[in-house]
Amino acid sequence: MCSKGPFLEEDIAQTNLGLDLLGQAEALLTYAAKLEDKGRTADDLVYKRPERDFYNFMLTEQPNTDFAFAVVRQYIMALYLDKVYETLSKVDDETLSGIASKALKEIDYHKSHLGMWVTRLGDGTQESHERVQTAFNELWMFVGELYEEDELDLKMQHSGYAISGDEMKSYLFSEISSSLAKATLSIPESVYMTTGSKKGIHTEYLGYLLTEMQYLQRAYPDANW
């Protein structure tokens, strides 16, 4: 979005959201690398893992088809992350609760900023209404993964590190329904919800993102930057 925003103020705002997310990813990956204790760094985890070792939700790798897609994708992720960080901010692990508490403040802003755009676009012009409705419709199939549960999720729920899939689903649906109603938009028709990212299955977009992101580290493995 940087240098591609609809106007300068929003270009700056969207970049802020990106910077927050990068900071959160860095903090979490640094901690993950430390817990793993195999001498890998956060950068190793980012730049040297192949596609199938990435477990990000497919929603996050969907392209910025237009401003509405970027807003809707990040809005749904902000809702999800808000709940995740809220839960993690209360766990015993101090590093994790520290990261989550800081991130929670940032994500609250994302929720409000992106939520305002959902309202404005939905209740703006005919064109913006159609574009944001299309974005919700086309991204809807990726929402199911956000409340899907595997064994690890159940373990985390058991120790208080995650809420249940049902809780997450009802929270997401209630937030999204009220936000769509306010924006004069409709809840997308029930669709087949895609699944797989927890097993490293992705849409084809991820490969291109990684190719670009990992290019220098892969082309010059001995170099320090």
């Binding site: 106007f7 300068l8 700056i12 970049t15 990068l22 401003f67 676009l121 574009r131 930057w225």
Partner: protein
């Protein structure tokens, strides 16, 4: 009061180093000169987001990515300050952008050169921002209040940018042989265009006269260019890179470096649209602006609906 008398008083204020504020009297030529210079400056900040923006997705570490993204965001912020300062002269941002799109307003030619390797992120921060700071530090004392204040704010961030760029190129210069080669190549490509950023020689700079008289410009192109060269040469030496100018030589008598002749044909051809990226930069800006039109319309329509409720 007659126009002549007003102009005399205006010049007296300038001579006494007073700042001119938006509601103060100013000659029309002063206003037009500022609009031209400040909008060119604002456009440069915004177009300047592109060569570096082009590398954000390929930054080689999380730290480098964060810093570069924050830097490009700063450029957007600088563009915004300067557009706002320019609007105090009675012109809107929309008009300024439309002049840019019509090719009536320029931006710094340096951004018409491509950013080819990661070392270019170093060279741009170090040399391009370095040249820009040299110019902007001088502009902090410009006579128009809003412009001067925006320069003060911008200079603080620019010095961080220059350090960021120097850090990248320094790390590469002491890295693998391939990295060092990239660093030297980036210096080779960006050195001369950076010197061109200060504009033509004073003897060939038609607008400098009025700009100096009105203290819009406080120091001449050649003075600023020399200052930049003098401080940059030792920075290159420190990291083992060679400035691509066989005529570069310390002149004991002047206490400055002598340097080779700039290729002014290249300068003018890039200014006139012949640079490798002129078309791409402008088209990118137009596309982002046009793609955003429906978003701006939606925001305006929403605001109107809810204001009337």
């Amino acid at each position: 009061m007659g126009a002549e008398k007003l102009e005399v008083l205006f010049q007296e204020r300038i001579d006494a180093n007073e700042k001119i504020e938006p509601r103060d009297y100013m000659p029309e030529e002063y206003r037009q000169h500022l609009i031209r210079q400040m909008s060119q400056h604002a456009h440069s900040e915004v177009i300047g987001m592109q060569p570096e923006g082009n590398w954000i997705t390929r930054a080689p570490s999380l730290r480098a990515k964060k810093i570069l993204l924050a830097k490009v965001q700063d450029e957007a912020g600088h563009g915004l300050y300067i557009y706002s300062a320019t609007e105090t002269l009675g012109v809107t941002r929309d008009e300024l952008i439309s002049r840019l799109h019509q090719g009536k307003a320029k931006y710094a030619s340096i951004f018409n050169y491509p950013a080819l390797t990661w070392a270019d992120m170093g060279a741009i921060g170090w040399l391009v921002d370095g040249a820009a700071i040299t110019n902007q530090v001088s502009l902090q004392k410009t006579s128009y209040g809003p412009y001067s204040r925006s320069m003060v704010k911008i200079c603080k961030e620019e010095s961080f940018h220059q350090r960021q760029g120097y850090e990248i190129i320094a790390a590469m210069a002491k890295g693998t042989s391939e990295q060092k080669e990239m660093a030297q190549d980036a210096l080779n490509r960006f050195w001369w265009p950076s010197l061109m950023m200060f504009g033509p020689h004073d003897s060939d700079s038609p607008r400098t006269g009025n700009a100096m008289k009105w203290k819009i410009k406080r120091e001449s192109n050649d003075v600023l260019r020399q200052r930049f060269i003098d401080k940059t040469v030792s920075q290159a030496e420190l990291i083992g890179l060679t400035i691509p100018d066989p005529d570069l030589k310390w002149n004991e008598e002047r206490g400055s470096y002598d340097f080779g002749e700039i290729d002014w044909d290249e300068f003018w051809s890039v200014v006139k649209g012949g640079g490798p990226c002129n078309l791409k930069r402008l088209n990118h800006h137009k596309k982002a602006h046009n793609d955003g039109a429906w978003v701006r319309k939606a925001a305006a329509a929403y605001a109107k609906k809810h204001l009337n409720k």
